[in-house]
Structures are given as C-alpha cells and as structure tokens.
Amino acid sequence: MTGETRSGAHNLPGARPGDGNLQGTDAPQMTEPDPILRLRQVDKTFAGNVVALRGMSMEVRQGDFISLLGPSGCGKSTALRLIAGLMRPTHGRIEWDGGAGTDDLGVVFQEPTLMPWATVEKNVWLPFRLRGQPLSRTRDRIREALGLVGLDGFAERYPRELSGGMKMRVSIARALVTNARLILMDEPFAALDEITRQKLNDDLLNLKAQTGATVIFVTHSVFESVFLSNRILVMAPRPGRVIDEIAVPEPYPRGMDWRTAPAYGEITRRTSETLHAGLAQPEEP
C-alpha cells in the first residue's frame, strides 16, 4: 500500500534502507541487543477520520537515541502518546520486552510541566512519590539527578524562580530520576533560544553517556536530530507516516567536533532532502 513499508521492513539496524554508504557495523552497540520496544504497523485514526498515523513500525533497542523528525502535524506527538500508553492504537501492536509494562518511563514534554506549588526537589520527587517512596529515602537520588542536569543548589527553589532553560532541566531530571529504561521527549527544547538549546543538547548527550538511557526524541530540527541521535525516523504528514530511516553511525560521546565534522554535514543534507521529498509528494488522498 504505502511508502511506510520501507521503514516497516527492517529488522536489523545493518539492513536499514536509509543506511546507504554509512556503515552500520562499527559502533559497539551494534552487537544487537533485543529490542525493548516494537511498534508493528501501528495506525491511529481520530474521530472525524483524521489519520494521524499510518503503518508505523519501529524497534527500539537498549541505548538507542531515536529521533522522530517531521513537519508539524505528521503524528510525532501521537506516536509518543501511543508509546506512553496514553491512548491505544486503532490498528497494529505495541510490544514491550517482558510484557505489557510501560510504567518504567520518563517523559519530557515541550513545556516544562512542573507543579508550580512544589519546590524543584518535590517536583523531581514526583515519580517516586507516586510509587509510595518517601522523600527521605529518595533524596540522595533526587540530588544526584539535579546534579546531573546542573542544578545543584536549586532544590528548594520554586519553578517560578527559574528561567525557561532551568525549568526544562528540572523536567529532564524528573524523567531521569527513576533510571527509567526509556525516556520520551516531545520537542523539549523547541521553545528555547538557539544557544540554550545547543547547551542542553550537549548536556543531554552527556547525560545519556552517564546513564545509558534509551531515548525517543521528537523534533522538527534536522540539526538537532543529526547531532543527538543514532537513528532518525523521517516522517511526513497527511497521513502521518515514517518515510525513511537514517542511521547516524557516529559513536558517542559526541561533542562540538561532531557539529563541524564532514559526516555531520553530509547526513544533515541527506536528512533535509528526505524531509523535503516527503513534503513534496503527498501520499494517497
């Protein structure tokens, strides 16, 4: 039926169609861990026959940093919400390694989404608190997470006393604090200025290196996706679907030198082309 079969067909990272000339075999994580999450031909149709997502398939492996890249309205948030279990697919399946469990998630939204009546520490405590774990027993872990995002000494502040970037860091600390095996991020830095955004991108990669977190990251910035991820799912709208998957084989840790590397420019160019090709030729009516 449609072009999403291209991305739906892959089973092994090395066999991915988007790989092209860039090798998919040298990075250490290519020793094929089992997927922790699989989407199989997932459709989501909203009331009024709005097809938000059609035939989306993907596999997420331990340690992956996957970007969902696409223009507005192509179903990126819908995909995340499906994965988070906030709604059910109309068709298709979402399979978790080891059963239906999805409670081991960390989430970062586009807005910081903090509780304004609670201090930074209490906000980060939330995932523990909802599992019945007292602050006294989790405080060390909370302080550690705040340290990881560079917010030492801000535990007792209220969200309103922080800048936009700092609030976002709190939100990230909250997603990290439980050592969740999968972290979902929905355009977390879209509202920030370019400088803060790059800084947070750097920090995010450092965090990933330190915690080994697996991340699914929604963005509509080509540069951000190439800088951060090892796999980019390029999406197109109407109906929302994955049109290609592009591998970014540069090993982690990545730093400033990656932003200026020739391979970075090459992949960025290819990703942009794919993105615009997807916009230029709309899928079936």
């Binding site: 988070a84 279990g85 906030l86 409670d103 998630l105 909802l130 309103r160």
Partner: protein
C-alpha cells in the same frame, strides 16, 4: 525603601542615584500612602458633614442621630450589642465552615464522578438562584431549632461559590501534568491529592472570599425572616427590635458592627488567600 537607600549607602564616593529614578520612587511612596489616607480622609469628611447637617438643622435623634450619639450608644449598649455580635459571628462562621466542607466535598465528588455531577449540580444551581428570603420562612416552619434554621439559611447562600469555584479548579489541572500522572500510573486518589487539589486551591480561595461575605448576609437575612421571637438574638434582631422602639441610634450602632464584621471577614479571607498562595501563585506574586 531598601531599594532607594541601597545605592546611596553602597557607593560612597559617587552618588549614582538617577534623579529620574528617585522621582519615580518618591511618587510610588506617595501613592502607597494615598491608598490608605484618601479613603480615611473621605470617611472623616463624610462623618463631619453628617455631624454638621444634624446640628445645623437641629434634626431630632429619633430621625437621624449624629455620629457622636451613635458612638455613645455603641459604648453604652456594648454588653447587649457585643453578645448579639457573638451570635451573628457564630452563625456566620459555622455556616462558612459547613459551606467549605460541603462545597469542597461536593466538588470532589463531582470531579470523581460525572454521573454525580449530572445528577446533583442542577439542584445546587436551583438552591443558589432561589432568593433566600423566599426559602427561609419554610425552613423556619419545618425546623424546630432557630439556630439550626439560621445556619441552614446562611449555608445555602454561602456554599455555592465554594462549590462552583472548586469544581472549576479541580478540572483546570494542567493537561500535560495529568498525562504525566497517567504515565506514572497514579491512582485516582493520588491524582486528586497531588494534582487536582493543589490546582484548585487558588480557585477555592477565590470562592472562599465571596462565601465569607455571603455567609454574613445569609445569617443577617435569615434572622430578619425568623423575626423577633425566641432565643438567639443576633445583630439583625437588635436592629429590628430597636426599630420597633424607635431607638434609631442603636440601629446605627448595630449596623456599624455588621459592616465592620463584613470588612473583617473580607480582610481575613484575603489574608488567608495571600498567605497560602504567596510562594507560587501568580495572583500573590510581586513583580520586580
């Protein structure tokens, strides 16, 4: 004040205080003082005018007593009036307490169950829109205890703003936060305690401010309707009674007490709202 003093004490050799800035600060100080002084001045002038009119026209005290006489009556009848004030306050606060418990309780019930909301919210509206003076006589027919009757009337008037505001507040929790709670598998109870109730707090406090005033109005109105029979004689009863005896100064004295009570209740509820929100809510924050 520290802001304007700072630069002068901080930088000894050069005074960096901008004259423009200083002028703005001075104007701000004057405005702050005027906020208090102006109403007091207007009040003083009005009272003096009242006094002058009574004296100049030689108005007899059973038509319009002068401010001095009212004050004197307030002092002379203080035992009587104070006892009545206590009764009115008791009814008002008891009604307010029940309104808060009932209003918040119903709002929580509505937030938990759409069926409950559909079933009961029309009745809450009916109670609210029906004038209390038209319900009160029936209440006093069927309810033996005058105190309970008064309480019920005051409650009917006061509970609706608490209910309506709290219901709105419970529903207005941030959507992303709701999703977050769902992702973390929060129970209904956890969502209520940790998300919905804190979100509703500013709304509830807004309702409380209105309900405080309404509880007093309800208590006073109900007492008028209940009439002069029986025990439990609040300030409204004193006004009625004094009216029958053409004791106009006492009517004024009781009226002043009721007005002061209303102002005090408003001040107290505003203070409670400010203290509970000042750490985080926009309404209580000072912009710097």
């Amino acid at each position: 004040m520290a802001v304007t003093d700072g630069p002068r004490t901080g930088h000894l050799p050069i005074d960096t205080t901008d004259p423009e800035e200083e002028r703005l600060a001075r104007r701000q100080r004057i405005e702050d003082a005027a906020r208090w002084l102006l109403p007091i001045a207007v009040m003083a002038v009005a009272i003096w005018g009242w006094h002058r009119i009574v004296v100049a026209n030689e108005i007899p005290h059973y038509v319009l007593p002068g401010p001095g006489l009212v004050l004197e009556t307030l002092w002379e009848d203080r035992g009587l009036l104070f006892a009545s004030l206590m009764i009115t306050l008791q009814i008002t606060f008891a009604a307010l307490a029940v309104a808060v418990i009932g209003g918040v309780g119903l709002a929580v019930l509505f937030a938990q169950s759409r069926w409950a909301e559909m079933s009961f919210s029309p009745f809450a509206v009916i109670l609210q829109v029906t004038p209390i003076v038209s319900i009160a006589p029936l209440i006093f027919i069927y309810i033996e205890s005058r105190l309970v009757g008064l309480l019920l009337c005051a409650w009917i008037v006061a509970f609706f703003p608490v209910l309506a505001n709290t219901t709105l507040g419970l529903k207005s929790a941030d959507h992303n936060l709701r999703d977050l709670f769902a992702i973390y598998r929060a129970t209904r109870w956890q969502r209520l305690i940790h998300l919905q109730l804190p979100s509703a707090l500013p709304y509830f406090l807004g309702g409380l401010k209105i309900a405080g005033g309404l509880a007093l109005i309800g208590a006073v109105v109900a007492e008028y309707v209940a009439g002069t029979g029986g025990i439990g004689s609040g300030l409204a009863f004193r006004i009625l009674e004094a009216g029958y005896r053409l004791n106009i100064p006492r009517m004024f004295a009781a009226l002043i007490l009721i007005a002061l009570t209303g102002v005090a209740i408003y001040g107290a509820t505003s203070l409670i709202a400010h203290l509970s929100l000042r750490r985080w809510h926009e309404s209580a924050l000072k912009r710097e």
